[in-house]
């Protein structure tokens, strides 16, 4: 019998694990995928080895890489890019940690209050979440990003279209800025030296981000650093080490237990006082196929926006309003590429360290990719092939020609122009919660973990506001690239790329269209909480979701502790311990 069992060691689960381990609770953290305990020996900086969604070490699949990835049915042109493994999708995230827009919370009364998804607001105020933002920002830590060449190009473009610079964490107007990111900023020789096997690029002569350009391949730089001093603050480098060492840095703390290769297949419940109440979980061990069951006072789901509804439905938990799996948001990404005559440094430095935001519309950020992923991104389209067919779409605008995937000579010429002479812009749409975009169970056969999820996105029938927002930001992206000096601008018109995922098990004001109450506890199953992006009420207005999900998970940990363990809240009353704390480092094996 545990105090708390947490399902999933991705962006959110380890936050609850760390916070409650620090309070001395007996916490079990289960992760379906592998644990990469020694990245320097297990990982490479090579994109197929790392990122191949079918066989890479960063994929959504089992620990054994000879076995296929786990299947999800996607009955449309789309791509789900979530990761299994300790750290979850933060293993390949870019560390960007903007706060949610204030306008997506109850009680917001700014002049732009009607510009957001007002039908699906958070069930509490922005001001209530601010102390939790601050707590997470101090813990990771989140800092203002350093600038490399590609950031300077992005800023030049933003200046050129007349955007002001934002100098606060809270966004209040159309503006651009360096990212606030969860990356340790360069120190010592980091960022000042190009090389390999140079001792000056090893910890501690180099600290923080070395500008290696491999954020997408997982971060273990600088070489020789203890895991909790790796530059990028994916949870495998930050919250997980804290959870596993809570006894050394927290008074009365107790080490959480982490079990990887443990796929939860069922949440158990019983009736208590007329209420359905969670009592524990069963998981399957990937290596052996054995099943284990443990009970707990509280169960926390954090398996991600696709897996949470699947597990809920496979556990036959109640779903009286039908909103389990509904309201899935994905920022309806798009992609705009600018070609330049001069160096843009696209493949160097943190993958995305500059952004612009348009409250009520969304935002955009620069993204550097490796060659294969670059060409993947340039061929991923819902608008057919440029110059050949539009697949019923092919929007026109301040980009060149109709939107669509590049092919043949055009695609090759774009790359041979130089991967460091292009700049990619990710268009991030403030998209609406819609019942039609959802996870259900597939009619295709079950896998070893039960019926598989089917993820349905109706990209062409999304709300008018969502579609208009996307067009607005795509235009700004193209205009910014031109202002920065791009000689050619191509809009790809991506189909759904599920990378920023939110709100598939949303909390909300109304019982009619939400799964969770304002404390992130399931409305129909007591002692069952959700603490990942699925719990978010909406798509945050466009900001990258990890920070807000982690702030909410911190708040949820407090709610669990006060409601079921009789404890007091701590955020705002205590000082957070930073995840780089030397007491944690001392418990960890340095990388080689």
């Amino acid at each position: 019998m545990r105090d708390v069992i947490i399902i999933g060691a991705g962006g959110g689960g380890p936050v609850v694990a760390k916070e409650l381990a620090a309070r001395g609770l007996d916490v079990l953290l289960l992760e379906a995928g592998p644990r990469h305990a020694d990245p320097e020996s297990e990982w490479t900086h090579l994109e197929n080895d790392a990122n191949n969604p079918l066989s890479g070490f960063l994929r959504f699949g089992p620990e054994n890489r000879d076995a296929p990835a786990w299947y999800r049915e996607t009955p449309q042109n789309s791509f789900i890019w979530q990761l299994s493994g300790v750290g979850g999708t933060t293993q390949h995230y870019f560390g960007n940690s903007p706060r949610a827009m204030p306008g997506v919370f109850t009680g917001y009364n700014g002049p732009d209050r009607d510009a957001y998804d007002t039908a699906h607001l958070f069930p509490f105020t922005y001001e209530e979440l601010v102390p939790y933002f601050e707590w997470v920002e101090a813990t990771l830590p989140v800092q203002t990003a350093a600038m490399g060449t590609k950031e300077s190009v992005f800023f030049r473009g933003c200046e050129g279209i007349g955007l002001p610079v934002q100098t606060s964490k809270t966004t209040t107007e159309d503006s651009f800025r360096p990212q606030e990111n969860a990356i340790l900023q360069p120190g010592g020789w980091a960022g000042k030296l190009t090389g390999r096997d140079d001792p000056r690029l090893r910890f501690p002569e180099a600290t923080g981000c070395t500008f290696c350009g491999y954020c997408m391949q997982g971060c273990s730089k600088p070489r020789g650093a203890p895991r909790n001093l790796a530059a990028k603050r994916s949870t495998d480098n930050s919250y997980v080490p804290m959870a596993l060492t809570a006894d050394v840095w927290a008074d009365g703390g107790r080490r959480a237990e982490l079990i990887a290769d443990a796929y939860v297949t069922k949440i158990h419940t019983e009736q208590r006082g007329g209420e359905t109440t969670a009592t524990g979980v069963t998981w399957r061990v990937g290596a052996t196929g054995d099943y284990h069951r443990e009970d707990a006072t509280v169960v926390v789901m954090a398996g991600g926006c696709t897996e949470d509804p699947r597990l809920w439905l496979n556990s036959a938990l109640p779903n009286p309003n039908g909103w389990v799996g509904r309201g899935y948001t994905d920022h309806f990404f798009d992609w705009v590429i600018g070609l330049f005559d001069d160096d843009t440094g696209s493949t160097r430095g943190a993958a995305s360290a500059a952004r612009a935001d348009f409250p009520g519309r969304g935002g955009m950020e620069n993204v550097g990719l490796t060659p294969g992923l670059q060409q993947f991104a340039a061929t991923f389209s819902d608008s057919g092939i440029r110059g050949h067919y539009t697949n019923g779409r092919g929007p026109e605008g301040p980009w060149d020609g109709t939107a669509g995937r590049m092919i043949g000579d055009e695609l090759k010429d774009a790359l041979t122009n130089g991967i460091d002479r292009l700049l990619n812009v990710l268009v991030i749409t403030d998209d609406d919660v819609e019942a039609q975009n959802r996870v259900t169970l597939s009619a295709l056969p079950a896998d070893e973990h039960g019926p598989v999820p089917k993820v349905r996105f109706h990209q062409r029938e999304r709300s008018a506001r969502t579609r208009a927002n996307r067009e607005f930001v795509a235009r700004r992206a193209a205009e910014m690239l031109r202002a920065a000096g791009a000689t050619k601008v191509v809009r790809i018109d991506w189909p759904p790329l599920l990378l920023h995922v939110q709100s598939s098990m949303r909390m909300g004001l109304s019982e009619d269209d939400s799964v969770l109450d304002a404390n992130a506890e399931a409305r129909w199953v007591k002692r069952l909480f959700i603490a990942d992006n699925a719990a978010l009420a909406n798509s945050l207005g466009g900001p990258n979701p990890t920070l807000t999900a982690q702030a909410l998970a911190t708040r949820t940990a407090e709610k669990i502790f006060s409601r079921y363990f009789g404890g007091d809240a701590w955020v705002g009353r205590e000082s957070p311990v930073v995840s780089t704390d030397s007491r944690i480092s001392a418990q960890l094996t340095p990388s080689r």
Partner: protein, 299 residues
Amino acid sequence: MADRTLARRTFLARIGVLGAATAFGSAIPAALPRTAAAAGSDALLDPLVGLLRPVLAELARDTLSGLVVMTCPGPDRFSHAQGTPRSEPGAIDAGADDFIINALDNFLPFPDQIATPLATALTTALDDTGIPLPPSLHSLLLGQVNTVDRALMVILRNDQTVPLSLVVGLLLNLLATQVNPLSITGSLLSPFARLSIDEKCRAFELLEGPNADLLAVLDSNLPEPLTSSLSGLLQFLAGALLEFSAFGAHNEFAVFDPDTKELTARPVGWELAGYQPDGVVDGWDDFIGYYEDRTEVGA
């Protein structure tokens, strides 16, 4: 019966199987004893299956080579055939054909419940569009065609796992002959690989758009409730084929030694892109500073 055999022969020609089998025509028996009529593996069919399997593997490879050069044309014959030869290395030099075949056959978790009906459709579909067959495809007797067909059925339906690279290849060839019936014969093994790049794009338009003809061929073999998923899965497949081709043509797959985790040569994609000229790094000298020298911001 003769009409059905003729229509089936035309269909086999369109998906490239007839042309591939013609290469070893003299080895194909014109008739099998009645005991060999069942679709299952049979001692009398086994030698032919043994002959046909590598030929179909080559057909699939040719077809998928014709696919990958769409995303990175080079000096190879497939790029020539699509009308976009380039002097620099391309997808074939990068091993993207191996990459896509490996991905389809070994890793893509494409459910057999979809793949098997697709394969079944390809083993039973007829063509009555009246596409005329050139003389080169008339060299097999109808009895021999029937024998080839039964060997194909063994390969597609009796394997433990459907060879998805072959199913996809045959599907692309079917689309190719819809776009350009003349692609049914020519210098390469695969009708799809014979198309110009404009025609290949048209084939993809048919694959990801509403294509009643294609769905009619494939739909009838799918059990409910999967029929409604089929057009969506074809849209997914169309996108994935191009995206994975582009990824495979530019990453390090072909020159990666999994034992040492090192590269045995510089990847083609890196050279084309000018990516990290001196190979993998531990860091770059690219830290300019902070925008307006601001290293922190307020709330």
